[in-house]
């Protein structure tokens, strides 16, 4: 089969981050600063991505503001014709730097929210003063007029703050809020017992989102990532593996999805060795789960296979120990009951501590 051209690229500029969120989805082993791609290589990658058909560029990390060349990278991305989105915690952004990013043509900012007050946010982010700083930066963002999406990551410890998070998005004049119930990949896997929402919390979050969508129609767009483990059907894996988007890690490794390195047996190419187009169309990792030939039962004969593509490959790896298995969340998976038990077991663990990530 011929793969379509990718629409989106996530550029993980660095793994460095002042925060140490326990739900970090980056891998356990982080790329050191010395291994990060240079400005010149990133600029070339942005041009290659635009030529390949990428329209949307997400500058992420770690904390992308930790890169001293962020301004140059944004300029280069805009020069390449890419819609440029900065995914940030706000730490490392000053009013002056925001004005410079504005002049450089930054299109949009996605601001993460760890909690709706300093106690919660600084506790979850593991960074004292982070919340107050974020609120200051949010004011500058609004004053400058950047289009803003607030990204509220919610879990058992802060889901009660969801209504306030939606109010805050309105107060910040954000056009969008992404309500993301935490997904368990990378570092987050070991914090499932501390963060797993209860079934009641997950259901309540869905109701809050549905009501808010009606109440704020035309003012605030709400994207919603429901609680994965409590679902009956899996999430759509990357909108189709190797069909829509790609990820470039700080050292230049190109991944079909953020967590793909957890899948044993896959080999990944690096932008320093091969053209991006070769990697996208011919790379072994990208072709591994394209189309449907790799599917097993019950996916192979299931009508939903074109909707959700069998669910998350990384989750199949993590729970079923087989990356080609049906996502264990699926009600048709033989592991669905195990998944429910896992979810309820984690959700009712009242003593689990938060395990913070540390940058080496």
């Amino acid at each position: 089969m011929t793969a379509p051209a990718p629409i989106a690229m996530l550029a993980e500029l660095t793994h460095r981050c002042p925060l140490s969120c326990p739900y970090c989805s980056n891998p356990i082993a982080l790329a050191q600063k010395e291994r990060e791609l240079s400005t010149e290589v990133w600029v070339d990658v942005f041009r290659q991505a635009a030529d390949l058909g990428v329209l949307q560029l997400h500058l992420s990390g770690g904390e992308p503001a930790s890169r001293r060349d962020l301004l140059e990278l944004v300029k280069a991305a805009r020069d390449a014709g890419l819609y440029t989105n900065l995914i940030t915690s706000a730490i490392g952004l000053t009013e002056r730097r925001l004005q410079e990013l504005d002049a450089a043509g930054l299109d949009h900012i996605q601001l993460s929210l760890q909690g709706t007050d300093a106690d919660m946010a600084d506790h979850i982010g593991g960074y004292q003063g982070g919340f107050n700083r974020k609120m200051q930066v949010a004011e500058w963002i609004t004053q400058i007029g950047f289009p803003l999406t607030l990204n509220a990551v919610v879990h058992r410890k802060n889901l009660h703050q969801l209504p306030r998070a939606i109010e805050m998005a309105l107060e910040m004049k954000a056009r969008r809020i992404e309500v993301a119930i935490v997904q368990f990949h990378g570092w987050a896997l070991q914090n499932r017992a501390a963060l797993m929402p209860t079934r009641d919390q997950a259901a309540k979050a869905s109701r809050i989102v549905a009501d808010a969508r009606v109440a704020h129609k035309g003012t605030l767009v709400i994207d919603y990532v429901p609680a994965d483990y409590h679902s009956d059907y899996p999430k759509r894996c990357m909108g189709g593996w190797g069909t829509t988007g790609l990820n470039v890690t700080p050292d230049g490794t190109v991944l079909p999805c953020h967590a793909a390195e957890t899948i044993k047996g896959l080999t990944f190419d690096n932008v320093q060795d091969k053209p991006l187009s070769d990697i996208w169309y011919r790379g072994a990792a990208f072709n591994a789960y394209r189309g449907q030939d790799w599917m097993q039962e019950p996916c192979r004969s299931c009508d939903r296979r074109k909707l959700d593509f069998g669910g998350c490959r990384c989750q199949a790896m993590a729970i079923a120990n087989d990356p080609a298995a049906t996502d264990p969340v699926c009600i048709k998976s033989p592991l669905h009951d195990k998944m429910k038990q896992l979810a309820d077991g984690f959700a009712n663990d009242e003593t689990a501590p938060l395990i913070y990530r540390e940058f080496p």
């Binding site: 051209a5 629409i7 030529d51 390949l52 058909g53 329209l55 949307q56 014709g81 819609y83 989105n85 299109d107 949009h108 996605q110 007029g145 950047f146 289009p147 999406t149 056009r175 969008r176 009606v214 109440a215 704020h216 129609k217 035309g218 003012t219 605030l220 767009v221 994207d223």
Partner: protein
């Protein structure tokens, strides 16, 4: 809750953070917006091309009606549907 039916006397405009862009690789016009890409069909593109920040929806309907030799009521209905859909997604705004 805001009324998402745009008034015909309103002036539509493209807000900051939304760009009309020709996608060379796929050979089609798109709207680039925060974390969304909207593919434009010929009707959508014709409407977007008329949005200049000063013309009212009414005037745009009349212009397109003349250009395409189609009844102005039909065109106006198409425009309202198109604009309302994008307004709900915060991709287009209308000054009243």
């Amino acid at each position: 809750m805001t009324d998402s039916t745009p008034l015909l006397s309103g002036v539509p405009f493209i807000p900051r953070g939304v760009r009309l862009h020709f996608d060379k690789v796929r050979a089609l016009w798109v709207l680039l917006a925060p974390e969304r890409t909207i593919n434009l069909d010929p009707i959508g593109l014709a409407i977007m091309n008329e949005i200049d920040g000063t013309s009212t929806l009414d005037q745009i309907a009349e212009n397109l009606s003349a250009q395409y030799n189609a009844p102005v009521d039909e065109i106006a209905a198409d425009i309202r549907e198109f604009v309302a859909g994008l307004m709900d997604r915060r991709i287009l705004e209308v000054r009243r």
